[in-house]
Subunit: 150 residues, 2 copies
């Protein structure tokens, strides 16, 4: 995607974008997460160009969020999330929650999440890791950190 290399930016958002910010990457991650794990399956599911899919998968593997595994004696591989990648799914769940709320379409969401603990179809809510209270845009003061140009 970006000509500009975000990883130089000393910003966690920018660096995260450098990992999954390229076009298609979040959708590829979603597919891998829900079990669409083979090249052909992902390509067919997303309608993505094979060239771009190759590039994205290589990049995700390089970044350590996805793992390439042989599943046959023949040269056949599938892709699985690493621990690092599994935590990126948080991002997908937040995108899903926001999209469901603000952009709800006719066809409805393609992925529903049933929460093991309560058994309900639910969505995520953000809490403070420290005190457990809700933590959204106006529940915090954003403070310029060391890497800020502001």
């Amino acid at each position: 995607m970006q000509r500009t290399n975000f990883s130089e930016m000393a910003c966690s958002i920018a660096r995260t974008l450098d990992v999954i910010g390229e076009p298609w990457s979040p959708l590829i991650l979603r597919d891998v997460y829900v079990g669409i794990s083979r090249f052909e399956q992902i390509q067919a599911d997303l309608g993505i160009s094979r060239k771009v899919l190759t590039e994205r998968l290589n990049h995700l593997v390089d970044q350590g969020v996805v793992e390439r595994r042989p599943y046959d004696n023949r040269p056949r591989y599938d892709y699985h999330l690493t621990a690092k990648g599994a935590e990126l799914v948080d991002l997908l769940m937040v995108m899903t929650a926001w999209g469901d709320k603000w952009l709800a379409g006719e066809a409805g969401p393609p992925v529903l999440y049933r929460h093991h603990a309560c058994g309900e179809i639910s969505h995520v809510d953000l809490r403070c890791a420290h005190c457990g209270e809700p933590m959204h845009a106006y529940d915090v003061d954003p403070l310029p950190g060391p890497g800020s140009a502001a």
Copy 2:
């Protein structure tokens, strides 16, 4: 960014990407959120091309996540988050948390969040909106919803 129009995909992740998935958009949102709200300021802070910044801001305004306001009698404008945009900040906080954890760099994060409720510099954790228990990748079953091709 994408030639392919994600908004057609009947997928909340894809539709969300259609709003803030283009290169730079999340970083622009971050700037607006932390108070870097004028065209020149954002351009200088990010080093983004003026052309692309214009396009992104127009798109964000069209999507209703950012609002353009005059701040002078002269033709001067600044940009502010709408309610829809403020909820997108959730996404930035999750990206920050993930990036801080997995991609920590020398310079450290550019934005720190101090939580009003507890006064601590903290980060977000995802909870089930229904039962309040932790909700991450392997705490849920992703179920194919109506829009899925799987």
